[in-house]
Amino acid sequence: MPYNATRTMLGHFHSNVSRMRPFRFAPALPRISAWSAADGMILLGLAGFLFAALRLALHAPAVIRGPEISLAPSALPWYTLLSCGRMVLAYILSLMFSLAYGHAAARHRLAGLVLLPLLDVLQSIPILSFLPVALLGLSALLPQALAAELAAILLIVTSQAWNMTFCFYQALITIPGELGEAATVFRFNPWLRFKSLELPFAALGLVWNSMMSWAGGWFFLMAAETFRVGARDFRLPGLGSYLQVAAGRGDLKAVLAGLAALILVIVLLDQIVWRPLLAWADKFKLEMTAGEEAPASWAHDLLSRSVILERCEARLWTPLMERLDAIMGRRMGLSIARPRPRRPVTTVVVLGALGLLAGWGAYRAVSVLALLPRAAWATIGLALLATAGRVAVSLLLALFWTIPLGVAIGSSPRLAARLQPIVQVIAAIPATALFPVLLLALVRIRGGIDLAAILLMLMGTQWYLLFNVIAGAASIPQDLRNTAALLRLSWRDRWTTLVLPALFPYLVTGAITASGGAWNASIVAEHAEFAGRSYATRGVGALIALATERADYPLLLAATLALVALVVGINRTLWRSLYHRARTRYQME
């Protein structure tokens, strides 16, 4: 869902929670590119890919039985473990993917020509909309339980990988020239170069982005664990489905137990995995000056004093790395010539083959789409409009409350110190986990599903905005605040000449990420199977669910593609122009 930059900002927020330190970061989105021919190619490629998956989906079983979910407290640890297992597996895959993809995009010019625009599009589309297609396609190939597991993991990977990939790619192309030249002059082989230069240089950013990817992963995991349309029950045993069943049965005790388990896991992992990693990664900072407080972690302090770990490092890790270096050194040889362009023949052949395949798929996809009656397109258009409206409303609602609160927090270190830990824990709960609970409360009201959908989007979006507003408010230089006070600016003038312009870049950054999150949420928010009944409202998410249920594959393809095209289009026009404005006019340097 989100964009990497805000994730990095969120990361800074995290780092600031334990100790008070002024927020010190500028919004730095990747540049949003204008429409290009590559976009068209990529959209066609996606269409081809979706078509291939749908061809498979034709053979998907019509009835899929889901797992029995037990609400017994003794089952909860098991479900928690299952959910965590999926997360860990997905994260490892994401990391490997990121390193390989980022390296290829940065080091091979030809590959970069394709990989970069692809990355750009993929990180901006609502990944969740691919879930139905992926589930259907995989369940035609694999036993049901395996298909759902694989689809869940793939979904998490696709949600996590892009920003990490982008971060690694960015690191590779921003390695200071002389550092890279030193590696070449001292004849580092590719392995040594990766190990001693590229990976360490990217480490800090990778850890930040991993943290954010991990947090985002929960959102998709919960969605994947609870996905069910009509007779096809793709649910997986895990925390998400536990919460859903508990809410469906109105078992408040189980709901609370499930939420407690979820929060516990999130906080625990943060404390014993991510924080120590972050503290450790601080040594990879490039700045040559000491100073600026390092991120603190009690777990890291504890571990770094451990004698056992030290022994392990000396006896196991160091010799192991030595062996690895030696093996890699022998395999790659010592003669590292100056980086010269590879012979592009293989790349051209591979890319050409992929292009042909995508072209064929796109052609077939388009011919399927041509069969769709005109009325169906009208339905899709209306559904998109309805969802867009919901996204806009949730964004406005989020702006409405986050601006005043965020400015209050950002302007007062005391308030920030008190509220940050609370905000952080609340923000860590994936909105999709709360959705069944929301439904439990709203389902009886007329238009309850509508309200629930907007609330889910709101929950998925507001935190990005809040963090960005806090960061923006904290970035206003004290000199300017003082000047505003000295000039005795009225409340109104102060907001229009100082606060809002200073916030603008942060608001744009936050809103881009937030709207991405909202589009994603729409897939799971607009229809629900709850307590044996199904609820739906008009919207593209509901339409995708309906198409999945009825096995109306042309409609599913059309709706998914239209959604992707719309979101990419909005990014390239509205957000791009706002972002450009933010960069050129309102950036505080």
């Binding site: 002389e178 002059v185 480490a203 040594k283 990879f284 040559m288 590292i336």
Partner: protein, 439 residues
């Protein structure tokens, strides 16, 4: 006055030639945007020689160094090492970088060890070797420190120790002292000279890139002076002073003045202001100087009787050669300053400027800069427009045809000059240039 000549140069003439450049050139970009960083450089470096490449920034001296180290391939001519053309990284050379280029996540010792490891030295031998090297440069006791904990001078010592680790035959130094404070730099120069002159290190030749004239005269056996647009060798100055050399010696000062004159006299063909976009002929870029700096220099010169030694002047103003020369260039193109024999003096016009009132000065300057084709072109374009406003993009597009990637910075300079002379200005909100009329 001890202008004694060492006996080394005579011997050196027979010593083997390590490096030879034959008509070396380097171009960036393609077709219309082609830009020559270096052109037609011929150079010979013999064993036992300490050679300095000296010139203003942008003269391609660092590019030349990178081609010699094999980091970049020349686009014309050939680089021969021991008579063989280079293919890939030069195995006999290494570089000490201006920014030190230490890996910040490795300790001092690890930074040296990683170079040994890349060279294939087995693990057990690396530790003692690295410590011995660090000992040589006087860093014992700092093995476990991280670079960020060290001062600039100490970081560069690590850079030297790392370079020594690979026992290079040719040591390339890329402005190794320019990121250091004055005292550390002076100390480190002395230490390097001591290592070099006492033959403690196996290095057989040193090639140093610098823009610091005194540094070059202090250390080198021969100075190769380069000029820019395109980057090329203009002259060579042998330095035959005996070591240790002293800054205060008259002979030393004489050589510094001589080199300074060579550098200052050769910066671009300033007498010809070039042509404007689309007028044919080669376009001349505006010097990278602000006009208020030029105004300051004119006033200072006037206060000193209209003439001063260029080198002394840059010392008094605490300005590097790279900062000083563009201002001098600007004064020369505008006909306000002139340079002769290492001296800078006011032209009659420059004297008139210094004597004038503030308003007259603006007018005088406006008249002078309007003689420059770029400025005149912008001014006339604006005058022909009905609203006297034209989009920035228009100018950038036209300039790009001539200057490629430098178009925007060229326009920025032109705007800055136009603003100072109150000819035209830039509207940041609308990205337009407009004429300054009636205030």
């Amino acid at each position: 006055m001890d202008l004694e000549v060492t006996s080394q140069p005579a011997m050196r003439a027979q010593s083997p030639c390590l490096l030879e450049l034959r008509g070396v050139g380097k171009a960036y970009g393609q077709a219309a945007k082609r830009f020559m960083a270096v052109e037609g450089v011929n150079l010979v470096l013999r064993a036992g020689e300490f050679l300095c490449l000296l010139g203003p920034s942008g003269c391609g001296k660092s590019t030349l160094l990178r081609m010699i180290a094999g980091l970049q391939a020349p686009s014309a001519g050939s680089v021969l090492y021991r008579g063989e053309p280079l293919a890939g990284v030069n195995p006999y050379a290494t570089i000490v970088f201006q920014s030190f280029a230490l890996f910040p996540w490795l300790t001092v010792q690890e930074n040296v060890e990683v170079a040994l490891k890349a060279g294939g030295m087995p693990a057990p031998a690396r530790g003692p070797r690295a410590r011995a090297l660090l000992d040589t440069v006087g860093l014992d006791g700092f093995e476990s420190a991280y670079p960020r904990e060290l001062s600039g001078g100490m970081r560069q010592k690590v850079g030297f120790a790392r370079a020594m680790a690979v026992e290079p035959e040719l040591l390339c130094l890329d402005e190794p002292f320019s990121a250091l404070d004055v005292l550390s730099a002076e100390a480190l120069r002395g230490e390097l000279l001591e290592l070099w002159l006492s033959h403690v290190i196996p290095t057989r030749a040193i090639l140093m890139v610098t823009h610091n004239i005194e540094e070059a005269v202090l250390m080198a056996d021969r100075i190769v002076v380069m000029a820019k647009d395109p980057g090329r060798v203009v002259t060579e100055v042998p330095i035959l002073l005996r070591h240790p050399r002293r800054h205060k010696d008259t002979a030393f000062q004489g050589l510094v003045d001589k080199v300074y004159a060579a550098v200052a006299g050769r910066t671009a063909g300033v007498e010809a202001p070039g042509t404007g976009p689309g007028q044919g002929g080669r376009m001349q870029r505006l010097p990278a100087a602000r006009l208020n700096a030029l105004a300051g220099l004119l006033e200072k010169l006037a206060a000193e009787g209209g003439r001063n030694d260029l080198y002394r002047l840059s010392g008094e103003l605490v300005m590097e050669l790279d900062d000083m020369l563009p201002i001098v260039d600007a004064g020369r193109i505008l006909g306000l300053l002139a340079v002769a024999e290492g001296d800078l003096f006011l032209t009659p016009l420059g004297q008139a400027y210094a004597d004038a009132s503030i308003l007259t000065r603006k007018e005088l300057l406006a008249g002078r800069i309007l003689r420059l084709p770029v400025i005149a072109w912008i001014y006339e374009t604006l005058q022909q427009d009905d609203d006297h406003r034209v989009a920035e993009e228009y100018f950038v597009d036209k300039l790009r045809l001539e200057l490629a990637d430098f178009a925007e910075s060229e326009l920025d300079r032109a705007i800055s000059w136009g603003r100072f002379a109150e000819l035209f200005a830039f509207d940041d909100d609308r990205d337009e240039l407009y004429l300054e009329t009636d205030g």
